[in-house]
Symmetry: C2
Subunit: 275 residues, 2 copies
Amino acid sequence: MNPSFPTNNDPPAIRNIKLTIEYDGTNFNGWQTQQARNLTNRQPSQKGQRTVQGEMEKALKKIFKKDLKLIGSGRTDSGVHALGQVANFQTRSIMPTTKIQSALNANLPDDIAITKTEDVPLNFHSQYSVQSKTYRYTILNRNSRCVQQRDFCLLYHHKLNLRAMKEEAKSLLGRQDFKSFTASDPAKCKKGIEGNTVRTIKRLTINKKGDFLTIDIEANGFLYKMVRNIVGTLLEVGIGKLPKGSIKQILLKKDRNTAGITAKPKGLMLLEVKY
Amino acid sequence: MNPSFPTNNDPPAIRNIKLTIEYDGTNFNGWQTQQARNLTNRQPSQKGQRTVQGEMEKALKKIFKKDLKLIGSGRTDSGVHALGQVANFQTRSIMPTTKIQSALNANLPDDIAITKTEDVPLNFHSQYSVQSKTYRYTILNRNSRCVQQRDFCLLYHHKLNLRAMKEEAKSLLGRQDFKSFTASDPAKCKKGIEGNTVRTIKRLTINKKGDFLTIDIEANGFLYKMVRNIVGTLLEVGIGKLPKGSIKQILLKKDRNTAGITAKPKGLMLLEVKY
C-alpha cells in the first residue's frame, strides 16, 4: 500500500483554529491563567483567579474532552476588555468551525463570546505572527457618570484641551524607545529579561463624540502598561499640567517618573489584532 | 411687625425638587421599595430587596438628615433599566440644585446616576402630572451574544421579517383597550381594583442599526407588562408565527392568552417621561 495515501486508520490531520474573542474584563483577573502568572510577583486579586484563558481552556476541555493549549495574542491586565482578542489552538477534531464556535459560546460564561472561528495554516501563531495591535481607551469627560458604560470608560471631570492633546500625541508616532511609558513587567523582571523598549506606533487618533473621548493607538507591539501610561500623560497635557513639547522630552529621558499617571484599566479595550 | 413679611425666624419655604434618574436595573428588584410592594403577592427576589427607590431614599436621608418621601413616575420591574426615570421630593433645605445633584451622585451606588435636578412648582407630581412615557426595547438579532450590551438587550436568534412587524405594529397606535397585552397587576388585584385598560399609544417605531433592533413606544400610560407583551407579540409576527391582521384580532379579544409571550425585562428601558 502506498504509505503517503491516507487510510481510514490514519488519525485526522492536525488543524490550527484561530478564535476572535470579545470579553468584559471587569470580573476577570486578566487574560492569562494563574499557572503562567505564578512566575510573576503579583498579589492574588480580590476577584480570585478567574481568567479569560482559564475559562476558555475549561470550555475547550468540555468540548474536546482533553486539555488543549490555547495561545493568546498577548496578555491583557485585570479589568481590561477586548472586542478582538485573538487566540489559537491545535486539534485533530473534525468538528466544523461553526460548530466549534457555537459549542464554545454555549459553554463559556456570559462575559466572554467567540465572534469568529477560522481554520488557519499550521504556522499561524497568535502571539508571534502579530503585525499590529490596536487598543482603544475611552474617557467620559463630564461630571456625572454614565451608568450603562460605567465599566467601560474612565470618568474624568476636568475640562480637556483636545487640540493640545492631539498636537502632543504626534510626538508619539513612529519607531521610538517607549521606556518612559512602561512599568517594569514583573514577569520579565523575575526571568531577568531586560527587554527591548523600542516599539512603532503606526496610528494614534483622538476622537470626541458627545461627552465620550476615544484614544485609538495602533502599534507593532505594546510594552507593559504602555497604553494606560500614554493616556495618563495625554490627560495631563489636556488639563495643562504638561506644557507643549513635554512628550518629546519624556521620550528622550527614558524614565517612567517623567510621564503621567497610569490611567485605570476599565477604560481600556483591545480592539483588533492584525496578522 | 408685618406678619406677611418673612423674618429670620420663619422656616425656609417648601421646595419641590424634580430628579431625572438613570439606572442599570440588572441588580435591582425594580424601582419600588419593599414596604409599598408588600401589598402585592410577589415572592422575594433572589437579589434581595435592593430597589432604586430604596437606594435613593437612603442617599436623601444621608444628605438631608431626615426621611424624605420620594415620588416616582411609576414602577419599573426587576431587571428593567431607565435612562430618564423621574421622581420628586419636597424639602425646606436651601441647598442649590447643583449641590443636591452632586451630593446624591456621591452617595448613590454606581448603578444609579442623577442626570438632572430642577426646582419645579409645588403642584408638580412625578406620577400624576405625566403626559406621556417612552419605553425602548432592544433586541440583538443574531446568533452570538454581545458581551458589552448583554444586560441591556434580548438576544434573539430567529430571522425577523421587519416589514411585517412594522405593518402589524400600526394596529397598536391610538386609543385602544390593551387588556390582551397586560398581565393582572398583583398590587391592584390585592386592592380589588379592576383597573381601566384603555391607553393611547402615540408613537411606535421599529428601527434597525447593525444587528440591533429597537422598538420605541410612547403612550399616555402603560399597563403592567404591556411593553414586554407587545414586544413578545411583535417577535411572533416577525418569525411568521402570527399572520397579518393578528394584532387587530388580539386587541378585539381582550384576552391575554391570545397575545405573544412576555419578552425578558433586561431589554427594556424607560427612556423618557414627558410632563
